[in-house]
């Protein structure tokens, strides 16, 4: 940059916009994803070109390899539903057995199961939920970069409080694939409380009732002078608005069957019916009844549904959320009617029957003055800023589920109880049950039940090299460590010999390390496009900065140029502006360089003028002072 910038003393130089990479907050939801950024404690949702806050968490994989995310992908449901994946969050960290069918069909095409994480077959590709979520996160990142005009590499990503270790790891892996450095995984209700707490400066006990598309969370928090302390949390990682849609869709299908039309739907049909069911549900939050038509295999059927019928269909799910809430409050020994307020989060809390149930349980009108779709992303953005720029606020979260080890007879020995504050490290001693036992199988599980088969298996590993001893003589110390992201590491150590094995828990439903490596390699190939995009954004930022600097200089010293020179510079400015509206990074950089060459004489004249002013126009004292200061500097 040859354009010299001269600043008046005390005047702030132009900020270097491109230097700092932004840290954003992302609410990666089952139905929608929202991105936000905070500045000086003020969070704001980053909107798309059309002004919408929500990015539908829908990905379309065209046969040619083109990936579309969001609204455009959702529209594909109409003409090419077989290429579209939605509600992928429900499959994060899960096995095929965990999936829910719709009249014998899944709204996904599963790839042959190898016992681990679910794989989908879409447009001939075999994709894991992690890869699909990474595509959504890439879209969120791209939106932020386009809007902010600078690279975004760091993010706080929210997860349901009730997400287990497998689902958390899967989320972190997805972010890595998308080229995002995860500053922290923050629980959604905690993020919501942060957005509310800072907004209102509230104190006391608050509940956050979060019913999203696919997950339900209830958290009890204590808010006090910038401290957000989670006291208890509970939920169901597979309970949400999607279940309402399923219930409605099942009813429609039943009515079709009764009318003798097409029984078992194919998976693409299942997606269509679910979409219609969702429309019906959304419509009935405001209207009292309606009629929807379903067309499958050329046979059209019409289905009437009113609010009363809808509420009957969803009642079991709503009741379940209230039963879970009652359990959490019982655990914490807090009367739900004694708290200061209850915050509603998640799109499904728009359903009037849900609001009524919450109001009745807590005996008070819930707070919903922050948009329930946006509140989590706003909180995440606040935390992203707090983590990167510092803050007085403190988020103290807990483990949602107990963590333990399988002992004799398939019984679970809990090492860390649920609702324990994190980070936490706890150790427990175990021993051998056979004489001369040389190895010990360690099976790590998560859940509240007493027996292993009713808990979720997280990982298995073996501690080998135990010296021969009689049964019960060995002392194996197993240490569980949960970090501030809620991720678990387990280490085992035999006391008498110090044989140690440390494993980072690789969830049974997670990705193997070599798979992760392959995906990262592939994402670098994708990444090339990302990189191009980033360089383009940087070129634009740099060009904009040059123009701003030149504009300021021209305002002050335009008289140093004659008309012809001024016109020449104006022409170059025009070329830079034209290049900036295009997509060609080299053209932008070329135009900026041409502009710099054109302004070099101007810059030189400004330098000369500044020196002349310093020597004549200004007070002599200040010149003398400066010279003195210069002399001192040399002497020291």
């Amino acid at each position: 940059m040859t354009l010299l910038q001269l600043h008046e003393p005390g005047e702030t130089p132009l900020p270097h916009e491109g230097e700092q990479t932004a840290a954003i907050g992302i609410d990666l939801g089952t139905t929608n994803t929202v991105v936000a950024i905070a500045d000086q404690g003020k969070p704001e949702v980053i909107r798309g070109e059309k002004g919408g806050a929500l990015i539908p968490s829908v990905v379309a994989y065209a046969p040619g390899g083109r990936v579309e995310v969001g609204e455009t992908a959702r529209r594909r449901l109409l003409d090419a539903p077989e290429t579209v994946v939605s509600s992928i969050k429900r499959l994060m960290g899960r096995g095929a057995r965990d999936l829910k069918e719709l009249s014998g069909s899944l709204p996904y095409d599963l790839a042959p199961d190898d016992g681990g994480m679910v794989r989908l077959t879409v447009s001939g590709k075999r994709l894991s939920p992690v890869e699909i979520s990474a595509d959504i996160l890439r879209a969120a990142k791209a939106r932020a970069e386009a809007s902010l005009g600078r690279a975004v590499e760091r993010a706080v990503i929210t997860v349901p409080a009730y997400f287990d270790d497998a689902a958390r790891t899967a989320t972190r892996d997805a972010a890595r694939l998308a080229g995002l450095d995860v500053l922290r995984l923050v629980n959604e209700p905690t993020a919501a409380a942060l957005a509310y707490g800072l907004d209102k400066g509230v104190e006391g006990l608050y509940a956050v009732y979060d019913l999203g598309g696919g997950t339900f969370d209830i958290s009890l928090l204590r808010l006090e002078k910038g401290v957000f302390q989670v006291l208890a949390t509970g939920g169901d990682a597979a309970l949400g608005g999607d279940d309402f849609d399923h219930a409605i869709a099942e009813r429609f299908l039943e009515q079709r069957r009764a009318a003798g039309k097409l029984a078992a739907p194919a998976s693409a049909d299942a997606k269509m019916i679910l979409m219609t069911a969702r429309l019906a549900k959304e419509c009935l939050t405001e209207k009292s009844d309606g009629t929807w038509s379903v067309e499958l295999g050329g046979a059209v059927s019409r289905h009437a549904l009113d609010v009363a019928a809808l509420e009957k269909l969803i009642q079991p799910f709503v009741a379940r959320t209230i039963a879970i809430s009652a359990g959490v409050f019982d655990d914490a020994a807090v009367d739900p009617k004694s708290i200061q307020g209850v915050v509603l989060v998640g799109g499904s809390t728009r359903v009037p029957a849900v609001r009524r149930a919450v109001e009745q349980f807590f005996g008070m009108k819930p707070l919903s003055n922050i948009n329930p779709d946006e509140v989590v992303a706003l909180g995440a953005a606040l935390q992203a800023e707090a983590l990167t720029r510092g803050s007085d606020n403190l988020l103290l979260d807990v483990t949602p589920l107990s963590l333990g080890i399988e002992t004799m007879g398939g019984i679970v020995e809990k090492v860390i109880e649920r609702n324990t504050p994190i980070p936490v490290a706890k150790a427990q001693e175990f021993t051998t049950y056979q004489d001369g036992q040389a190895a010990m199988a360690i099976h790590v599980v998560q859940g509240e039940r007493e027996t292993v088969d009713q808990c979720r298996s997280l990982a298995r590993f073996e501690l080998r090299g135990i010296p021969p001893m009689v049964a019960g003589a060995a002392r194996v110390r197993v240490t569980f460590t949960v970090d501030a992201d809620g991720l678990l590491t387990v280490a085992a150590r035999e006391g008498s010999t110090g044989v140690e094995q440390r494993v980072e828990v690789k969830p049974s439903y997670g990705l193997a390390e070599d798979e992760m490596a392959r995906m990262l390699r592939e994402s670098i190939e994708h990444g090339r496009a990302d990189m191009e995009r980033r360089l383009l954004i940087e070129a634009r930022v740099e060009a904009k900065r040059s123009l701003l600097a030149l504009d300021a200089a021209l305002k002050k010293d335009r008289l140093l140029l004659d008309a012809a020179e001024y016109a020449a510079i104006e022409a170059e400015i025009g070329r830079v502006n034209a290049a900036m509206s295009g997509e060609d990074r080299d053209a932008i950089n070329g135009a900026v360089q041409a502009l710099e060459r054109a302004v070099t004489p101007f810059a030189q004249r400004r330098m000369d003028k500044a020196f002349a002013e310093a020597l004549s126009g200004r007070s002599l004292d200040s010149v003398a002072e400066r010279m003195e200061a210069g002399a001192k500097k040399k002497a020291s």
Binding site: L396, T420, A425, A484
Partner: protein, 217 residues
């Protein structure tokens, strides 16, 4: 002594433990200091007991609000959220500091765990796990009666009645534990803590019973 504001020193009761060199700049750091005075690097947690970590003298009497205040003030300095932009080593140390602090807080916050921890410091193990039976016949009798009442409680109202009774007993037991610790009577302490332990367990059973009643449609 306070731990509010930017105080970075925990309890002064740790005695004259020798200063250790800072892992980062090798300057001497006093055992009770959380940060190196020279380079400001966070220091590893060390082996302080739970009371010292939170700046208390060991004892059963404890003001819950004071405990929270100290805990929050320390977490404000030590929580991993404060070290996101720091080196991997500092992040790891912050995690172990925050973990030790959480463990201390959880132990002291819960009266039963606090009592058991105090007894353990006094060399008294109180863990009637497998094979160890309760020898106090009055407590045994009481336990049997309460269990029976709970198993007979068929609805939430009946369970609430059992719970209210258990809660009243638990309050009394807490007072008895506090009194026993105050008189330094080891036998009385042991007996009263055992009773508190049993009543706390009863609490869990009542909760489980309520949960079971909730899931029945």
């Amino acid at each position: 002594m306070t731990t509010t504001g930017t105080t970075i020193r925990t309890g002064a009761t740790r005695g004259a433990a020798a200063p250790a060199p800072c892992w980062s700049c090798h300057a001497p750091v006093a055992a009770a200091d959380l940060f190196c005075a020279g380079c400001r690097a966070v220091q590893p947690p060390g082996g302080a007991d739970h009371f010292t970590r939170l700046g208390f003298e060991p004892g059963f009497a404890l003001d819950a609000a004071d405990l929270d205040r100290r805990y929050f003030a320390l977490q404000r300095q030590l929580h991993p959220d404060r070290f996101v932009t720091k080196s991997a080593r500092e992040r790891a140390i912050s995690q172990s500091q925050a973990s030790s602090l959480n463990e201390a807080y959880e132990t002291l916050k819960n009266p039963l765990e606090r009592a058991v921890y105090l007894l353990k410091r006094m060399g008294i193990e109180i863990d009637p796990g497998d094979g160890v039976t309760i020898k106090d016949p009055a407590l045994l009798m009481e336990a049997m009666e309460m269990r029976e009442a709970l198993s007979e409680a068929a609805d939430t109202a009946a369970v609430a009645k059992v719970a209210a009774n258990a809660e009243a007993e638990r309050k009394k037991a807490l007072e008895a534990v506090a009194a026993a610790f105050a008189t330094l009577n080891h036998d009385a302490t042991r007996t009263t803590v055992l009773r508190l332990k049993y009543l706390t367990k009863m609490d869990d059973e009542i909760r489980a019973r309520r949960a079971a009643l909730r899931t029945v449609p």
